[in-house]
Symmetry: C2
Subunit: 450 residues, 2 copies
């Protein structure tokens, strides 16, 4: 069923041995008062976080941005939309760090009290900020609406704050200082916060702190083996790394990202250290590596297709459009992705892809024979160099003793023939769909020669 050499290490089935989500800790841990780094604190305000209504992706974004800029994030704390919660949080943050990035509590609705608490904490008054009101009125006018009276309240801001213009929304950011420490307060809307961090907070902090310590990292992207298997393989590399470097494992349903980080003051030396570790890892698990840096699997496979001047189409059953969705999430994918078919029903497998009625009858929709005909049919009917196909039982129901939930076939058809692979996944529908899409993309990666 395969002319490809077996992968160095096979992926354990979903639901199999997992292990922790992180590798060796950075050896310059928080609380050790590493003099090289300024300490940063992330404080997010909002009942919606504490009642589990929203996932705090703002904290992730701020943590990554602060680390990239060379700060050490000592803690992340989420507090309630209450005066006591915010006061308490600010106290802990300013005790632990030099810079505090906080989000939330700046909207027009009544519970958003962050700025009032900030004014009290920094012993200043709220004053009407005419410039913000002008901007806010203009902001609404461009959408053919008028600023409402409750928006006027958003322009009452702490007198001692430097106002950071929010080009994507109504509530401005605020920069406040005390005893050489800085608190930057931003709205909780992710899209607004991100622009404020990138364009206002970080550039101003760089100027304010004049820090010359650098942090550099490199991410190696792998697919086809689990975290603990990779960890065992590259243990010698990890063990020989110098004290100021670290390695972290980030598994995600059939893929694992390895992030190498180093810190110091000499750019050339940091780059050389990263290159050295990267080359050692490549020598051991090179076949699993699909790319580097902040990219996704579909994007890297797309780059490979683009380089080879090849096109691809999809024929999806159990993945229901997830494979094409992952491909088209990347800008520019129309250069190599022509389209696809979601053949959820058997009649559409026949009419759109040319799967034979006899094949479906004899082997069933979830079978090597069907997935092969799906891939080959898509390649031919949609006119591409390659086609990926998937058919399986995503769950949670629909299994049989012979084909339990998680039985999934994938195939890649190309100029050299068709590869098929049987996956044995778990019972979680959403995980199975993403896992299958990753496996199909990885099979295509291995077939398309770079």
């Amino acid at each position: 069923m395969s002319w490809l050499a077996p992968l160095l290490i096979l992926t354990p089935p979903l639901g199999g041995p997992g292990g922790s989500t992180c590798g060796r800790a950075p050896l310059t841990p928080p609380y050790l008062k590493n003099p090289l780094f300024l300490k940063a604190y992330i404080l997010t305000v909002g009942d919606e976080i504490l009642i589990g209504q929203v996932t705090d992706t703002n904290a992730t974004f701020m943590a990554a941005a602060l680390n990239e800029a060379g700060y050490e994030v000592v803690e992340h704390l989420s507090v309630a939309d209450s005066r006591e919660g915010i006061m308490n949080g600010l106290a802990r943050a300013l005790e632990s760090a030099d810079v505090v990035l906080m989000t939330g509590g700046l909207g027009p609705t009544k519970d958003d009290i962050t700025k009032k608490v900030l004014a009290d904490y920094f012993e200043t008054d709220l004053v009407f900020h005419a410039e913000t009101w002008d901007r806010l009125q203009a902001f609404y006018r461009q959408f053919g609406r008028e600023a409402a009276p409750h928006h006027r309240e958003q322009c009452e801001l702490p007198a001692s704050a430097t106002i950071l213009t929010n080009l994507r929304g109504t509530a401005p950011g605020m920069w406040l200082e005390r005893d050489g420490k800085v608190v930057i307060s931003m709205p909780g809307v992710p899209y607004e916060m991100r622009k404020l961090v990138r364009d206002e907070a970080l550039p101003r902090l760089a100027e304010y702190n004049q820090d010359d310590v650098l942090q550099r990292s490199l991410t190696i992207l792998t697919a086809g083996a689990g975290e603990s298997v990779i960890a065992e393989q590259i243990a010698p590399v990890e063990d020989s790394m110098p004290e100021h470097m670290s390695l972290a494992y980030l598994p995600d349903l059939g893929t694992v990202r390895l992030r190498i980080t180093t810190r110091g003051t000499d750019e050339a030396r940091l780059q050389a250290e990263l290159t050295d570790v990267r080359e050692q890892i490549e020598a051991i698990i090179g076949e699993l590596i699909y790319g580097y840096g902040p990219k996704n699997l579909a994007q890297c496979v797309g780059e490979r297709l683009l380089a080879a001047g090849k096109t691809v189409v999809t024929a999806e059953s159990c993945t229901g459009g997830m494979i094409s969705s992952m491909i088209t999430a990347n800008a520019g994918s129309s250069a190599y992705f022509l389209g696809g078919v979601v053949s959820y029903s058997n009649p559409l497998k026949q009419s759109l892809l040319g799967v034979k009625a006899a094949t479906l009858k004899k082997h069933g929709a979830v079978s090597e024979a069907t997935v092969r005909e799906m891939a080959e049919g898509a390649r031919k009917k949609l006119g591409a160099d390659y086609a990926m196909a998937a058919s399986g039982i995503a769950g949670p129901d629909g299994g049989t003793p012979e084909k339990p939930v998680g039985t999934i076939w994938i195939a890649v058809a190309g100029p050299e023939g068709t590869q098929t692979q049987l996956l044995q996944a778990g019972k979680d529908r959403k995980r199975n769909i993403i896992y299958t899409a990753h496996q199909a993309l990885n099979l295509l990666r291995r077939v398309v020669k770079a």
Copy 2:
């Protein structure tokens, strides 16, 4: 272009006025020492969180589970994989709350030190737990592998801890008590942690605490209007709610969930309160409501199709499979979803959907004429009662002065004819894709009579 009555309130374009992510705060806020509720604390351990490599979805899950069980989550704190970080975090958690749920730091890799710190904090020793070692060996054997020596270390556990069996992974959970307070430590792998919370932590806590205060909530799902517009419309309802009830707004790219929460000891009264507020809201924004409870838009539209005995197919260009992916994320969708076409290239729009070459030439791929032919072609060729179609410029590039990035046409073809709608979205590709999929599903919802 539409025979449907215009929506009560139109959606502002993406990138338009946003507002905060949360409505009025619960009026029984944390720190007010509400005697009705036991306080809970969420403590997550892991450098990967503080460097922004992973989003802390564990915290969201635990927060929702604790709230549902009637706890008040006072704070969520993320600390580093260091002794000082964990000690410090435990101290704050036990000072602030009665119950601490913590995750992370229990894997086999060297940086995972939570259990050592827990043993010290609770003044107990680590002892070898033979039962866990037996389970672990059996666990690996079922995947045809052997437990490695470093897994044996995972069986060294605090002597005074009650061990919570982790059926989905290797590291067990631990229950530790001091001064009537409880710390439950669990592995950070989300899939393992979730099962431990549901099957071990919460049932044991219920028995331990014998709490008779109830929290009940109801979520109203809306699409077609922004958060601040809805907030203005239903302000009278919100203002007249009793003190112990709260309302939160959860916007997500063209949809807004409204969550009403109430607390007390009388089940019947709580249900009556929720019903009363729900009916008041329905009377004002009924047309925007697509469902109730923890459901997604695609699922609710699917239920409507199922009830009507109708089927649907998709014809996607700029959404690249996102619409079908949202539909098929729901188990049982094969009862109403037949399949779809991702016609990313113009030739596939013609060959798979029958879009006319003349239409593409005269109006372009992003036009009302093309999206109409896509929907009508899909409905006819794929043989369903309804078809959804989308074609647009998702961005970030590819716009022209006449059709800037974010210009997107959607259509729904059905037995009564075809509806089209022009969306004006922003420049963020991923947001535009999800927003468009939501709008297409909402257009279908309005067309299919319940």
